[in-house]
């Protein structure tokens, strides 16, 4: 065993290194994150003990940060599985170092996002009522169903392409061999096994796309199925999905840049990967603007009084600052940064991605709060100030995400090693063959 360990100096050693070498930085990060999470957990227990009064929610703003973050996190989760499935399906060769990172985002963020409605409950002790007395007719239960489906599908979709890598880790030995042996499901890398795995991945990637689309559509239904001004809109389904993919790509770019820096993966994640993905980000930014423009123009042109109350609350009222910074963060900055090659450096892309993530969070805020704050009845408009509890749970959720990611990268390679190997060995020939098949053949000689 020990012999083997010293022998295997792979060309992809850089990808194994984070698993076997634990630095002081790792313990420090985990320690700090755990402290943040413990504090957030304390604040949550306090909330359960005293009631939801410790938040800033009130009447009529009955939903606050928790629902905003729920929509936001589930949106981020579309980074992963959806993008990775689309890239795999379209045989984009540059996907190889990206897919795993994307899929991990989905699995972790989805778990965090899915917990948010439970955090938001006034009686979390009764959450099991949805099993005994649930109403599948309620959009909230559509969500429970579709998020469970998406979580299962994306975990499977993360796990299956990881099996060959887990087997590699098993063969390297070490303390966790049994753990990897259990997870590798007897993978030996035979041709038959490869065929089985490829077929399963192919079925899954086709399946996972509609599931992912359905998840954010259904989340938008929570809002659009009500009669409230600003929510009751048919555009919400696709609008939410576009926004989700948009924020997802931005989050993926941030994660990629962070790991590239920390794990020194410059050899794997090259500028070209970031440029391709950021082109996708630019397209989504334009699409997002198109949807936003259509949504608000319809409202303003029709000028239904209740609808106008909500729109004015966003345009010139208390939410003007959030609304207009959303437009700047989601549209103006990314379009300027990503349209010019000069700005399309790693730093430029990182900047644009961070503004997009903030901007998309603001978008969720702009959707949830103003509609609630402007009830149809003549009660005057409400206001919402999040409390310390809500802020700490927000920070805690982000900490859980980072911790989840750090721990994942401790146990599993963050870049799919076998897919990189496959790329080296086969894809050049394959791509050559594929491109040749697109090209027109020799001109047919006419008789």
């Amino acid at each position: 065993m020990t012999e083997e360990k010293t022998k295997t100096i792979d060309i992809d050693e850089a990808l194994y290194r984070p698993i076997y070498e634990t630095g002081r930085g790792f313990y420090l990060t985990v320690g700090i994150l755990l402290m943040i999470i413990l504090f957030a957990a304390f604040m949550y227990v306090r909330q359960v003990y005293y009631g939801l009064g410790v938040t800033g929610m009130n009447q009529p703003v009955t939903w606050g940060f928790y629902i905003v973050n729920f929509v936001f996190f589930i949106g981020i989760s579309h980074a992963g599985t959806l993008i990775s499935a689309i890239l795999r399906l379209s045989k984009a060769e540059w996907r190889r170092p990206i897919t795993r990172m994307a899929e991990v985002i989905t699995a972790i963020v989805l778990a965090i996002g899915g917990l948010h409605p439970i955090i938001d409950l006034g009686r979390p002790d009764r959450v099991l009522n949805i099993f005994t007395a649930g109403r599948l007719q309620s959009p909230l239960l559509w969500d429970v169903t579709s998020i469970t489906a998406y979580f299962t599908a994306s975990t499977v979709y993360l796990y299956l392409p990881m099996i060959p890598d887990i087997a590699k880790l098993r063969d390297r030995g070490g303390k966790l061999t049994r753990f990897y042996d259990f997870l590798s499901w007897g993978w030996q890398g035979t041709d038959h096994q490869k065929k089985v795995l490829n077929r399963a991945i192919n079925i899954l990637m086709v399946m996972v796309i509609p599931i992912a689309v359905s998840v954010h559509t259904v989340i938008s239904y929570i809002f659009s199925m009500t009669l409230q001004p600003g929510w009751h809109s048919t555009i919400f389904g696709p609008y939410f999905v576009v926004g989700a993919i948009f924020s997802g790509i931005a989050a993926l770019l941030i994660v990629m840049i962070a790991f590239r820096k920390v794990f020194h993966l410059e050899n794997y994640l090259k500028l070209i990967h970031f440029q391709y993905l950021s082109t996708l980000l630019l397209i989504m930014s334009l699409l997002w603007f198109y949807f936003t423009f259509s949504e608000y123009l319809t409202g303003i042109f029709g000028a239904e009084p209740h609808e106008m109350d909500v729109i004015l609350y966003k345009f010139t009222g208390p939410y003007a600052i959030f609304f207009w910074s959303m437009v700047v963060f989601n549209f103006i900055i990314p379009v300027i940064v990503l349209s010019f090659k000069k700005f399309k450096t790693i730093k430029g892309i990182l900047f644009a991605s961070i503004t997009v993530v903030i901007g998309m969070w603001l978008e969720r805020l702009n959707i949830v709060i103003p509609s609630l704050a402007n009830p149809r009845m003549e009660l005057g408009s409400g206001m919402y100030f999040p409390s310390l509890t809500e802020w700490s749970l927000f920070v805690g959720a982000i900490a859980v995400f980072v911790l989840g990611y750090v721990l994942f990268s401790k146990f599993f390679p963050i870049i799919s090693i076998w897919e990189i190997e496959e790329g080296r060995e086969e894809s050049i020939k394959e791509v050559e063959k594929r491109v040749k098949s697109y090209l027109p053949g020799p001109a047919e000689t006419s008789d």
Binding site: Q193, L197, M207
Partner: protein, 91 residues
Amino acid sequence: MNSTENTSRDKIIFTAQLASISLIWIFVIAIAIWILNLISVSVDLNDAPGISIAISLVAIPVFFTLASILTYVFVGFHKNSKSDLNNTLGD
């Protein structure tokens, strides 16, 4: 490391893997039972059962397909390793 210890360890791991697969099936079946229960409640109360049935028609097959894919992979992996013993260097 002697071989008997190795095989018994393999057996334990194989059982654990089997258990994890059956856990997936239990999960999927539980979801199906849950959804069917909600449908029966909505039929009892005459509370728009159509919607529940429509959702279940989409949701239940999705979960079952996911579990079948996992099972297919697991069975596929192991079928192979047996036939490999019979004809090593086969292909």
